[in-house]
């Protein structure tokens, strides 16, 4: 280590930070996100060859319809995990929204009004989470374990084991409409708009930079003028709002409002986000990775279904993928540590500190 520093000093031209950066192609291609996208391409390629009927517009249509709720909820979840928090209650908010939406429609509300009412319900749920996390100052894990039970419980209390299955046809048809003769559902355009909005917020606005900053260091973010509490509140509100939106979508898609809707969906969403390269410790991640993660899980599930593999196996796969995606950085670090112990950033900093 010392020799490198000594030679750097001996050089007439002082090295700048740019000299320590990797080449551009490495920075863009050797990332977790690229690995996920590559994985997605490989899975799609393999499934197209190996699974009958996989490469068809019907498959694409069902795939897009199935992953829409996951995709919608993954957007705010990404931001929340980026700040180092978590929201386990999203699937329960979805269920509660689905139930209240069903009850509003059954109670004779016009559908647009019911949609607005349901979005308000989602916002209230998000506000409860946000209030407990920011104002009361509780850990989000504890809060959302509690609200996960509470919101689902209220949904069960309201509707019991019954289901509401009558919805106006023109609205349920909306979820199955396709763009022309392609297999792409019309509502995918709406989802695409949402993705773009969230990607822009996340990567190209001060608010988004603040989210990354909070995840890297809450204190440092606070000192640099990021309003940590307000940011977190907004994120939990967004999670509530979009979970309600996903709840409305799921209700219309299946024409069923039940308290059991979306059971276990929080796992799929969190798995997809972490698989997409977002660090569970916060501060690291990118939107294109998350989208690839959602598509990866969705593709695996739909390919397995087409191959007549039961959904239990895909549950094992999703669970294992989740575990693997969170431990892979540790495994990589361990392998690298074994191979080149001297080149880890930690030792470099130490050497630097020892010198100065």
């Amino acid at each position: 280590m010392t020799t490198i520093w000594a030679s750097a000093k001996a050089n007439s031209r002082t090295k700048t930070y740019k000299d320590y950066a990797k080449p551009l192609w490495q920075r863009t291609l050797m990332t977790t996100e690229s690995a996920v996208i590559l994985g997605l391409i490989l899975v799609v390629a393999y499934a197209s060859i190996a699974v009958n009927n996989f490469a068809s517009d019907i498959t694409l249509y069902y795939l897009l319809r199935d992953i829409t709720p996951i995709l919608i909820i993954a957007l705010p979840m990404t931001l929340i995990i980026l700040t180092g928090d978590i929201d386990l209650s999203v699937a329960s908010i979805l269920a509660l929204s689905s139930v209240t939406f069903g009850m509003m429609v059954q109670g004779g509300w016009p559908v647009p009004l019911a949609i607005i009412g349901t979005l308000v319900v989602g916002l209230v749920c998000g506000a409860i989470n946000g209030f407990l996390v920011t104002v009361v100052g509780l850990p989000s894990l504890a809060v959302t374990i509690g609200t996960m039970a509470a919101f689902r419980g209220i949904a069960q209390g309201l509707l019991g084991t019954t289901a509401i299955t009558t919805f106006p046809e023109e609205w349920t048809n909306l979820t199955s409409m396709k763009i022309g003769s392609t297999g792409i559902p019309v509502l995918s355009i709406l989802v695409l708009v949402l993705i773009i909005v969230f990607a822009v917020i996340m990567h190209f606005t001060p608010f988004g930079r603040g989210i990354f900053a909070i995840g890297l260091s809450k204190e440092a973010a606070e000192f640099s003028g990021v309003n940590v509490q307000r940011t977190k509140m907004i994120l939990f509100l967004l999670a509530g709002l979009l979970s309600a939106l996903a709840g409305i979508y799921l209700t219309l898609k299946t024409s069923t409002a039940r308290a059991e809707n979306g059971t276990g969906l929080e796992l799929t969403v969190i798995a997809a986000v972490l698989l997409g390269g977002v660090s569970i410790f916060g501060g690291k991640g990118a939107m294109h990775g998350v989208i690839a993660g959602v598509f990866l899980i969705g593709t695996i599930e739909s390919a397995l279904r087409l191959a007549n593999v039961t959904s239990d196996v895909s549950r094992i796969i999703v669970g294992t993928l989740l575990v693997l995606s969170v431990i892979s950085p540790s495994i990589l670090a361990w392998i690298r540590g074994r191979r080149r112990p001297a080149s880890t950033p930690g030792t470099q900093t130490q050497a630097f500190l020892a010198k100065s």
């Binding site: 407990l132 809060v143 419980g153 276990g264 969190i270 239990d312 796969i317 669970g319 993928l321 431990i327």
Partner: protein, 354 residues
């Protein structure tokens, strides 16, 4: 409040800012300040309310027995999860572990006719312990939050269970009578399952309170970095906590098979919320380092008592999970408020003394 009682390890709390009138009053105050006491009072209130509405709830033979029997399985789960939470982790996979070991119990009886019951108990505990070991190893070696790991294993274990059991169902007649009758057997009118649960809680509570290993759980949960610097074997502690938690869930799975007789692949679905809820309501802080196993056990009893009281009190039991959720939130808010008050008190006493 609970934290001081924990840290000093001795029943009398730190000298209060304003000394009470006499030791007896202070001792009474200390008892009433404990979380366990308030939980027991809450349990008694629920029982009293339900008994006033319908005296069958407590007085009848079945009523009394069910009050003791229903919580015993959940006590084991809550106590196991409490140990993990005290080390600042969490185990969401206990429900799936319970489901797997319950099915394993039934399968053992079917596949090995005449297998001794003790062997089945041991098999269940070991299987649970192994599943816990997987969790513990992933958490300890990969240094990843336990919540994500166990969320993953919760689905993976449940998936294994569903793949293994399929749509099969194990019925009471598939298992020997001596085993299924364990579920309702009594000694001195106390159900055997309750006795097993209480014995386990006594042993583990003693371990957590009085042994070096037990105190290290608290040290690790209070401040992991400090524990590491101090030289505690963090990996070993994490592993032990998860293995114990898994083994308890395994034992709970065997008892579940004995109690309910009918086991399918959905056995114990969603019970992790009750287990964690019981621990949190019983005063085990989710941020680690605080709480007692007794508190967790009483928290589980409170949840189950409420569950059986709801129909009696005229509330549909669909609302049960909402009650669980509200209680969890209430408990963590209470812990937060108490911690803030304690913090303020420490600052004022420090300011006064200097």
């Amino acid at each position: 409040m609970t934290s001081t009682a924990q840290l000093t390890r001795d029943p009398a709390p730190l000298p209060p800012a304003t000394p009470g009138p006499n030791p007896v009053a202070r001792a009474i105050a200390a008892v009433f300040k404990r979380r366990e006491t308030s939980i027991i009072i809450a349990i008694l209130v629920v029982i009293a309310a339900a008994t006033i509405v319908n005296d069958q709830f407590l007085v009848s033979k079945d009523g009394f027995r069910n009050l003791l029997l229903n919580p015993s399985i959940y006590i084991l789960l809550s106590v196991g999860v409490a140990m993990v939470i005290i080390t600042r982790s969490v185990d969401l996979s206990v429900s799936s572990t319970l489901g797997l070991t319950a099915y394993l119990t039934g399968r053992l009886f079917i596949d090995f006719p005449g297998i001794p019951i003790v062997a089945v108990f041991i098999a269940g505990i070991i299987a649970g312990g192994l599943l816990g070991l997987v969790n513990g190893a992933l958490v300890a070696y990969a240094r990843v939050p336990a919540m994500v790991i166990t969320l993953g294993t919760m689905y993976a274990y449940r998936g294994i269970n569903v793949a293994w059991a399929g749509s099969n169902r194990i019925n009471p007649q598939d298992m020997p009578k001596e085993f299924t009758s364990l579920g309702t057997a009594q000694i001195l009118s106390i159900p055997v399952l309750t006795i097993i649960a209480v014995v386990v809680v006594i042993l583990l509570a003693w371990y957590m309170k009085n042994t070096r290993g037990g105190r290290e759980f608290y040290a690790l949960g209070s401040d992991p970095e400090a524990a590491q610097l101090y030289g505690l074997n963090v990996v070993k502690r994490n592993l032990i906590a998860f293995v114990l938690c898994g083994a308890l869930a395994g034992l709970a799975g065997v008892l579940y098979a004995a109690r309910y007789g009918t086991i399918d692949s959905a056995a114990g679905y969603g019970v992790e919320l009750t287990a964690i809820g019981g621990a949190v309501i019983g005063g085990v802080a989710i941020s680690g380092g605080v709480g007692t196993l007794w508190g967790a056990a009483f928290g589980a009893i409170l949840l189950l008592t409420i569950k059986s009281a709801l129909p009696v009190l005229g509330v549909q039991d669909f609302w049960q999970q909402a009650v669980v959720g509200v209680l969890i939130i209430g408990a963590i808010v209470l812990d937060r408020v108490l911690a803030l008050r304690q913090h303020k008190k420490l600052i004022t006493t420090k300011g006064a003394s200097s």
